[in-house]
């Protein structure tokens, strides 16, 4: 029996062990996602990649593909749920795109465009979060953190440094820097780290480079996220 399943009616081939999102992206089908990154172990936390498998909701980044699965993704119902999740991310942090140097390269913003998010709908939290400018090469703006944990995984699994961690629970979960002072300057983090390259939003920013590419000429200004293969490459 051939290794295929259907995604919105389209036949998708897969190899043993592949997740639904891996097989879909190999077949050129986009499933919205934020905490998933092809180079890392899935985290399954943002739930943006949720699909319906044989009628049941599941995260396509953690669910292994199986023969004959019937998967739905681009439906009005699922996209409405994805949009609501995205709106919650927007109100939970401080996402002011006009003053963010990552605007146009931001995966959260591009995903919101893709989902047709016209407003954040919910009441904004306007949290008070600090900025860490201690490091000579990198600025951390925690206002925009969506807790995808990609920097945590990159620093731990690729760089072998464990610079970042998620601390606290539930609504109090937040990103921290593993140093006694809590400051990035007091870690061995460098710009060459994988963790410096993976932030899908505007938390980990290279200093003195913010507007080298002007607004309007950036990655997602040129093509929507659904047409861009891997979204954080080449930042």
């Amino acid at each position: 029996m051939s290794h295929t399943f259907t995604l919105d009616g389209k036949v998708i081939p897969f190899t043993e062990g592949q997740t639904i999102i891996q097989a879909a992206s190999a077949a050129g089908v986009f499933i919205p996602h934020l905490c998933y990154h092809p180079e890392f172990k899935p985290h399954g936390s943002c739930k943006l990649c949720t699909v319906k498998v044989n009628g049941r909701h599941t995260a396509s980044c953690t669910m292994r593909a199986a023969v004959g699965m019937v998967v739905e993704s681009e439906t009005e119902e699922i996209n409405a749920e994805r949009r609501a999740l995205t709106q919650m991310l927007f109100v939970e942090g401080n996402h002011f795109c006009p003053s963010c140097e990552q605007s146009g390269n931001c995966q959260l913003q591009a995903t919101a465009y893709h989902l047709g998010m016209m407003s954040a709908h919910y009441d904004h939290f306007f949290p008070n979060r600090a900025v860490d400018a201690s490091h000579p090469e990198v600025l951390l703006d925690f206002n925009r953190c969506i807790l995808c944990s990609l920097c945590v995984r990159a620093s731990r699994d690729v760089d072998g440094k464990n610079v970042f961690a998620l601390s606290g629970r539930g609504i109090k979960t937040h990103l921290i820097v593993n140093a006694k002072s809590g400051q990035l300057a007091d870690t061995d983090f460098t710009l060459a780290d994988k963790a410096a390259q993976v932030c899908p939003v505007g938390v980990i920013l290279t200093k003195r480079r913010g507007f080298a590419v002007p607004i309007g000429e950036r990655k997602f200004d040129k093509a929507p996220i659904s047409e861009t293969a891997e979204t954080t490459e080449g930042r």
Binding site: F90, H95, F96, C97, P98, S99, C100, S103, G104, Q109, A112, Y113, G116, M118, S119, A120, H121, D123, H124, F126, P127, N128, R129, I215, D221, A223, P224
Partner: protein, 183 residues
């Protein structure tokens, strides 16, 4: 012969905004003439009419809510407009004025009028004619129902044109890639 079609009445205002969205609206340039075949302006900085007429078809709101008067004007628009459109980042998420939201209002007023550089014998303005500032700046959808949103800082003239022409054609407005911008 058909009688000329009744023009839609449109009102606009800028609350806690910078009028940048209004400037972008004017940027539709000569298309304004086409628009004026279909609409007439009611209350707006363009007409200087001070109150919104009952039965206004479309209200366009720029800016968020930073003081009591903003809330009053917003409610007046909601009461008198069939369709309300939030235009620009500030109306939609508070925008630049909301950058004060993590600071206590008293601390801001103290610094601006008392302790800031070059101030002597300053006092916090308290004339009863001045609207009282709100503790936090709020997006307008947190106070009244908003029917449509045009994001952007400011939205491009083309985005504004697209939404208005879609509405005039009786369609659900839709901004595709290129017109949909939060920045």
């Amino acid at each position: 012969m058909n009688a000329p079609k009744k023009k839609l009445k449109v009102a606009t205002t800028s609350l806690a905004g910078c009028f940048g969205c209004h400037m972008s609206f004017l940027d539709i340039d000569e298309r304004l003439f086409t628009l004026l075949d279909h609409i007439e302006f009611d209350r707006s900085p363009l007409t200087d009419i001070k109150v919104v007429s009952p039965g206004t078809d479309i209200g366009i709101i720029e800016g968020g809510l930073c003081n009591a008067e903003n809330v009053h004007v917003l409610r007046e628009f909601r009461q008198n407009c069939t369709t309300l459109i939030a235009i620009g980042a500030c109306a939609i998420n508070g925008g630049l004025p909301a950058q004060r939201n993590h600071l206590p209002l008293t601390a801001i007023l103290e610094e601006v009028y008392h302790t800031g550089h070059g101030l002597a014998n300053g006092m916090i303005p308290n004339d009863p004619e001045l609207p009282l500032p709100l503790n936090k700046v709020h997006p307008i959808h947190e106070v009244v129902k908003i029917d449509y949103f045009i994001p952007g800082c400011p939205p491009s003239a083309d985005a504004i044109w697209k939404v208005l022409t879609d509405l005039l054609a009786g369609k659900e407005p839709e901004l595709g890639h290129g017109l949909m911008h939060y920045d």
